[in-house]
Symmetry: C2
Subunit: 254 residues, 2 copies
């Protein structure tokens, strides 16, 4: 029995001692020659990203690829989203909306309502530790295979029951509207007041998003809530009565 | 040797299996009768607090007292502050300031530059899990015994070297100015352009802070950076060219 116990304990101790096992064992690590941020604490990095203290970052630091991968694939990411969604619902429930069809909730799409995790988990993407490849990402959009983010899908359904109109406002270009719309319907986002894709000349990031929100408010809509994974979804003018930031340590859009 | 190894491994496994040992073993836990948020994930709670997704919370959920205590007393809190301070310095370094004495950096005091952790670690405070007691906290201020937050003190010194003028803007009432000023000087904050205490009729939170920042800008100062532990330090008008949020999971000021 003591041998069995020893084996068990050693197994536990080993798995605890190296919780960040390699996800992509076969992927070369170019940074091992000295490009790693050896002193970077990945928990601090993620917190700084989520609080918008670190801005304009190009990709996940290589030292944090495994950390980000384990976070995104593990239960903590889901729990983090679930709590934000629950808090958003508590807030929404407390609003006495007029039900004249003008109280809207703005949702971003990517990493807010629809997950690109099957794409980001690829060896060639490495949870954002490898530079963005527009061609590959756009091919993934065309697959229309992104799953729903469970916490946000639940919130979406509950908001509709409360009488909110839903506006999806995405940075995805209009050229991909067909595939994206198909994807959204397939995973449970079946109705909306508007689904706004980015047109040519719309700009990007906060400039694009605030212009579209301004147009919504000028058209008489009241933005009661606004949820996104990027601070550029939530900052700027006409942000909404309250904003909710869902986690995304994989990429930054300014 | 195998016995020694077994002991060692058991010790490691045990310490890992219950990382959140009680801090206040003697403190009664009234919530054990059913008031605990048994499903609350404290990592998610802290992230939601730091991103301003959870607002107007009165105290640390009892279920998270130990978690918050270990976080604040452990190395992760320090590392989290250090990274924000390092990022703020990188930003500040990149500004070509005119050195006309009008480029200012606004710092909050409590939990931004000066720590009240010796007070918050008391059994009667429980890292914010017990409701705020103004009398006891004010007596603590009079002790002038708060330590500096190391990462922020380092940033303060580096900003002065870069040529920034420092403005401390605190919610502490003017009645405690003498003790607080003494405390600040004692721990290394020896010079400033202004140290603003809250006067009677100044309001509180975001209303108070934005009014004082507005007055600074009207007096010709340029707020190039603004750092605080509360979102009410950083939101509202005249927020500054860039804001930095340092962690504080112990209390909320709206």
């Amino acid at each position: 029995m003591s041998i069995t116990l020893l084996f068990l304990v050693l197994t536990i101790a080993t798995s605890v001692a190296s919780p960040l096992n390699q996800i992509h064992l076969l992927k070369p690590h170019p940074g091992s020659a000295g490009h790693k941020h050896s002193k970077l604490n990945c928990l601090s990095w993620r917190l700084a990203v989520e609080t918008n203290n670190i801005q304009k970052w190009k990709q996940v630091p290589e030292a944090c690829e495994n950390y980000v991968g384990h976070y995104m694939l593990g239960r903590q990411y889901r729990k983090d989203v679930d709590l934000v969604a629950a808090e958003a619902y508590e807030y929404a429930k407390g609003l006495n909306i007029t039900k004249d069809g003008k109280d809207v909730w703005v949702f971003d799409i990517d990493e807010t309502t629809l997950s690109n995790l099957p794409y980001y988990a690829r060896d060639t993407v490495a949870f954002g530790a490898i530079p963005y490849n527009a061609t590959a990402f756009n091919a993934w959009i065309e697959e229309a295979a992104g799953p729903a983010i469970p916490g946000t899908l639940k919130l979406y359904k509950r908001l509709i029951k409360l009488g909110f109109k839903i506006v999806f406002l995405t940075g995805t270009e209009a050229a991909y509207a067909e595939a994206r719309t198909k994807n959204m319907k397939k995973i449970g986002y079946t109705k909306w007041e508007k689904l706004i894709y980015k047109g040519e000349g719309d700009g990007s990031g906060v400039v694009y998003k605030q212009a579209k929100r301004k147009a919504l408010e000028e058209a008489g809509y009241r933005i009661r809530g606004n949820m996104g994974d990027q601070w550029s979804d939530l900052l700027g003018s006409n942000a909404g009565d309250r904003v909710f930031k869902v986690p995304d340590p994989m990429y930054y859009i300014g």
